[in-house]
């Protein structure tokens, strides 16, 4: 690579480049590291962790749709304790920036997870998932409730000195109102977007194709919606945005950066092309060379309206 500066600052969080792998789409880095070099990325975000392990939803958990997929994994995860014992040692070897995603069913659980994990030096930041549409007890409600998002931000922020990123739900009328609350309560950044609520039915059995009935829609189908959400936040609120939703290649990544993203996350594409992250870093670099952009950060929110 030439002298192009790909580093970005997501608030206090410094990344060597803007490309992250999204929560729930790279496990804990383990299996995917056989297929790509995670050390070349800006970092990875873990599968959402909860205080106790969760076995997740019964099958069928996923179904393909036009240019997208629905998932209702149900936040299957090993829990904070096993994560620290069993996953952190391997993650140390990956030589990549680690962001821990936390999902919980109460504010207390968010705070407790954050406190426990704050002790781990390897963790550079927390991404707080207030928006998982597949957990019945809390997820959706938190994500659509301005007050709840505000309080979670405030309490979690108080529980750690590491940067706090709030991952927002797209299933709201004005996502920028949520970004505003996050900013007010001291959050360092927002991630946008999590999946859209969707469903599918088998017309012969009349049953939902996903056991959980509804699932979260991801993939290229949602890219225009995700871009509009990023752009809405960018125009209205001064807070770093991590753009997510349907990014498949470097062109999409650049589009998100132009629309206001400081960094981007890759989700569904990892399932199809596990090396996409590295290819996108290279593609971004080549684009900068070609268009004489010296620092990628100059591209952030560079839209011409």
């Amino acid at each position: 690579m030439t002298g192009i500066d790909l580093s970005v600052n997501v608030g206090k969080l410094k990344l060597k480049n803007p490309v992250l792998l999204a929560s729930g789409t790279n496990g804990y880095g383990n299996e995917i590291s056989n297929l790509t070099d995670l050390s070349k990325l800006g970092g990875i975000v873990t599968k959402s962790l909860s205080l106790k392990p969760r076995k997740g939803n019964p099958p069928q958990r996923i179904v393909e749709t036009s240019s997208g997929m629905l998932n209702a994994i149900g936040l299957a995860n090993v829990g904070v304790e096993s994560f620290v014992k069993e996953k952190i040692p391997f993650l140390k070897e990956l030589n990549t920036t680690l962001i821990c995603n936390i999902a919980a069913s109460s504010i207390e659980e968010y705070v407790e997870c954050t406190k426990i994990l704050t002790a781990e030096e390897l963790i550079s930041a927390f991404e707080i998932n207030v928006s998982c549409p597949n957990v019945k007890e809390g997820g959706l409600e938190f994500g659509n409730d301005l007050n709840a998002v505000g309080r979670i931000t405030e309490k979690v922020k108080a529980a750690t000195n590491k940067p706090i990123i709030i991952k927002l739900s797209p299933n709201v009328s004005r996502i920028s109102d949520f970004a505003k609350v996050v900013k007010q309560e001291g959050g360092d950044a927002v991630s946008a977007i999590n999946t859209l609520v969707g469903t599918a039915f088998n017309i012969w059995t009349k049953k939902p194709k996903i056991k959980n009935v509804t699932g979260g829609l991801s993939g290229p189908a949602i890219k225009p919606v995700a871009l509009a959400k990023v752009f809405e936040i960018s125009r209205n609120i001064q807070i770093p945005i991590i753009g997510i939703g349907g990014i498949m290649n470097w062109q999409d990544a650049i589009e998100f950066i132009i629309a206001g993203s400081t960094a981007i996350q890759l989700g569904t594409v990892n399932f199809i092309n596990p090396n996409a992250g590295v290819e996108i870093v290279e593609g971004i670099n080549a684009f900068c060379e070609k268009t004489s952009v010296g620092k990628i950060s100059d591209l952030i929110a560079s839209y011409q309206i």
């Binding site: 496990g27 019964p58 996923i62 179904v63 036009s66 994994i73 299957a76 399932f271």
Partner: protein
């Protein structure tokens, strides 16, 4: 396990709805266990979005073979590929069949396209083992004997061989094997596997089954392919812990 683009070397229609495709692999020293699978991208755009999993059907020198039925859009597109086109493959993935064990006769029980993994299994089977194949199909035109050995056939409509399903056929022949040490290798639709599972557990027969399930990634990162453990709480992943399981390890 790796991602590679391989050229199509041949593509052939075996039966009305069943195709055999071969790809030139770049390394003949790849270690592949029968029952493992590859996750294949059948287009180079967003339609269909996800890869499609296919069992390794055979592996000779540097040629990888896959046998597939046209099922929906993805397999239809695969059947229309031309020689020389490239496919993007991820694999080999998952855990295959265990060929070791205390048995002298390997019994294959295959339902429909469930026959796909067995040509390679037969090739890899130690020479001192006997192989017998039970093959079930909807009807005569769907019977694909490719790469199988000593075949007993059943069809649902009786148009060829035994009239009924393949597990019934096998049960009707069980006495032929009383003096043998058998191990069963099975693959096919879930209802077939369920009835077989019941039978082998009752009769304490050593049996491995290859299971199927919708997959997104195929290598353990999406958690999309759970299968219930038979004991204890929780799930295994079909793509990573399977697709082959001991018949008593999972709830179907």
């Amino acid at each position: 396990m790796k991602q590679s683009k391989l050229k199509i070397d041949s593509i052939e229609k075996l039966e009305s709805n069943t195709f055999l495709i071969s790809l030139k692999s770049n390394q003949s020293n790849e270690v592949i266990t029968p029952g493992q699978f590859y996750n294949i991208k059948v287009s180079d755009n967003d339609f269909p979005l996800l890869r499609r999993p296919f069992s390794i059907c055979d592996f000779i020198n540097d040629r990888l073979y896959f046998m597939f039925d046209i099922h929906g859009e993805g397999t239809k597109m695969l059947s229309q590929k031309r020689i020389g086109e490239e496919l993007d493959l991820l694999g080999p993935l998952g855990n295959g069949f265990d060929l070791s064990g205390d048995f002298d006769t390997a019994i294959i029980i295959a339902g429909g396209i469930g026959a796909a993994p067995f040509p390679y299994l037969i090739r890899k089977m130690p020479e001192n083992k006997n192989v017998v194949s039970f093959l079930g199909a909807k009807s005569k035109s769907a019977v694909v004997k490719y790469g199988l050995k000593k075949i007993f056939i059943s069809t649902d409509d009786g148009s060829e061989g035994f009239h009924g399903n393949v597990v019934h056929l096998f049960k009707s022949k069980i006495l032929d094997f009383v003096d043998k040490k058998i191990k069963i290798y099975a693959c096919g639709p879930t209802p077939m596997l369920i009835s077989l599972q019941e039978f082998v557990i009752q009769n304490k027969i050593d049996c491995q089954i290859s299971t199927e399930c919708s997959m997104a990634c195929g290598f353990g990162i999406c958690q999309g392919c759970p299968i219930e453990k038979s004991s204890g709480d929780g799930y295994l992943l079909v793509c990573k812990d399977g697709p082959v399981f001991n018949a008593n390890a999972v709830k179907l």
